[in-house]
Each structure stands twice: as C-alpha cells, then as structure tokens.
Symmetry: C2
C-alpha cells in the first residue's frame, strides 16, 4: 500500500507551480501576473493550477498547513512548568528554524506576503489558522475556553508580534528570524519595558 503522505504526481506539479509563481510574482508583482501565466511557466493548464491551489495567493504559501500542524505539535509537547509565552515563542522559533540554504526562499515568500496588498489581505485567513491553534493551547493551560478573551488575546497578540519580528528581519534590522522573535517576545512578555 502507498502511504497517504507520499508525494504523488500532484505534489510534484504543486512544487513546479510554486517555483514559477514565486519567480514571476517577485519579478513583475503579484497582481500583474495572471494565474494563466504561472500555469504556462509551470507547463500545466490554468484549470490544473486551481486544482493544486485553491487561490492564486495560496501558491505563495507553500505547505503552510503542515507548518501550522507542526506548531500545534510543538505546543502540545511543551514542558509542564514553562510560562505560556515562553512556549509560544519557542514554538514560533522552532517552526521557522530554516537552514541557511532555505533562508532566501523564506525571505522571498515573506517579502511578497508582507508587501503585496492582495497577499497581505489573504494572509489574515492563514493567520486565523495559527491563532486558532495557539488559542486552544492557551485555553488548555489556563483552564478556559478557546473563545474567551484571554486565549484569543494571547494568540492574536503573539502572532502580531511574530509578524512584526519578521518585518524587522526583512528590513535587515535584525540578524535572524530567531533573534527578532526573541526580542519581540521579550518586549511583549515584559509589558514593553522599552517604553519606559
């Protein structure tokens, strides 16, 4: 039997589409490149493009679903006594721990997502998945429900902090995503000591 997670022909075309998309979008801009052009560059039809990615924007995000799943796993495997914000920070750092070879790719993706308005808009939908996972973890640790103010608040503010950290790294204000994340979470956990 074949494993469910094995790479079928679908995943190969997905990878080809993704490469073509990143290349064309960074060169000409996201809105200036029709999905058909990406499909042509990837050697497949427009229809197949939308079978591999539900949205033109999703071609930029790669396997973000697996990303979120890893985050959830890391959070659930957190040491018992650890402060919640520390766990969340560590999980964010771990999930975004790319090797030096993959950093340019991350940079390219983030530059698009944080710069292009249409992708910025779409990102909110993806962020919501992350927020949901983090909120559930916080609710677990504090004995509340994921819909309560505190879990939602922690989830959404930590994610916002992570985004700001990535922006700073992208602007070359921080040497690495990890240090940027640590600095941002230090400010957040301390109630913004730098403001005093």
């Amino acid at each position: 039997m074949t494993e469910t997670l094995a790479t079928g022909p679908r995943d190969l075309t997905r990878a080809r589409i993704e490469r073509a998309a990143l290349e064309l979008f960074t060169r000409h801009g996201f809105e200036a490149v029709p999905a058909e052009d990406v499909a042509d560059a990837a050697g497949i039809s427009r229809r197949t493009f939308f079978r591999c990615f539900p949205t033109k924007a999703d071609a930029v995000w790669g396997d973000f679903g697996g990303h979120v799943r890893r985050l959830a796993d890391l959070l659930s495997a957190t040491p018992a006594g650890q402060p919640v914000l520390t766990s969340i920070c560590a999980a964010y750092v771990e999930v975004n721990d790319y090797g030096p070879d993959d950093l340019p790719l991350l940079r390219q993706r983030l530059r698009l997502i944080l710069t292009e308005p249409a992708l910025q808009a779409h990102s909110q939908v993806r962020y919501a998945e992350v927020d949901r996972v983090v909120a559930e973890h916080v609710a677990d640790r504090t004995g509340g429900r994921p819909g309560d103010l505190l879990p939602r608040l922690v989830a959404t503010t930590t994610r916002a902090a992570a985004t700001a950290a990535f922006e700073a790294w992208l602007a070359d204000d921080e040497p690495s995503p990890a240090t940027a994340l640590h600095r941002a979470f230090a400010e957040l956990a301390g109630g913004f000591p730098a403001l005093r």
Copy 2:
C-alpha cells in the same frame, strides 16, 4: 462657498448603498450577494456602486478613513507624561465611543467583518492604516523611526488586542467595547498577569 467636507450628492448615495449593503450582507451573507444586487436595492447602477466604494468590502466599513484620522488626532493631543499604552488605549476607547443608538450598527458591522472570510481578509488592509498611525505616534514618543521593531510591534499588538476585545464584546463576554478594550490593554501592558 461650499465647504469641502459638506455632504454632496455622492455622500447621500454612499449612505444609501451602505444601508442596503449591511442589510443584504447580514441577511444572505457577503459572498452570496453580488454588488449588482446592492446597487439595485440602493436604486443606483453597478457602475455607480464602484465609484462610491472602491471595493464591495468597503461598503461595510463606512467612513473608516475619518475614523483613522480621528485616532491620529487623539494620539497627537495626548498628555505629555502619559504612558504610551495608556494613550493608545484611551484613543481606541474614545474613537469607538458610540451612543446606545449606534451600538447595534457597530455590532452589525463587526459581526460581518470578523465573521465573513472575505471581509476578514480585506480587514488586514484597513488595519494597516491604523498600524501606520499608531507606529508613527510611538516613534514620536520614543525617538525612533516608525519602521523600527518597537513602534511596529506596539502598533500591531495593540491593534490585535483591540480586535480581540471587540470579538469578546461581540460574543457577549464583555458588557461594552470600552470595558473589553480596558481589560485587553491591562493584560497587554502588564505582560499578561492572568497567565501566572
């Protein structure tokens, strides 16, 4: 002479469109209602709809630009010695200080924006305007540039906190937007004491 801010014929049709849009979107869902149906309900053509609002989503946001402008004014008129987070919280509360008659309208708007995926996505673009204003204020107070990590971080996390507060109010977990905002900012400014 007529004042530049006077209500011309354009603003009247805008208001009619907005009412029709809120009504139809809450009844049938945002994605299920074409812009043309809203235009028909407002007694104008599809083309005129898109002259009054650049996007179908924008019909839900009312005069959000003025909202942001008021926020900027409030922040620049902040007492000198006041802690930055206190100023930002106060500005958010003040800007969202609706009378009892207008609360249902705010509820209706927020319910759509926070519930419908397409509007949720579009909200990121609007939030960016708010973040920019707050980041500039923080940069002013701390002597940095708006693009630095700290101003960005404070701006985006406070805005995220405000959003969480509104969600809690919408879910009837909080009696009013003001109390929800105060609770959220108290957690944020204290480094989340409720987590200990």
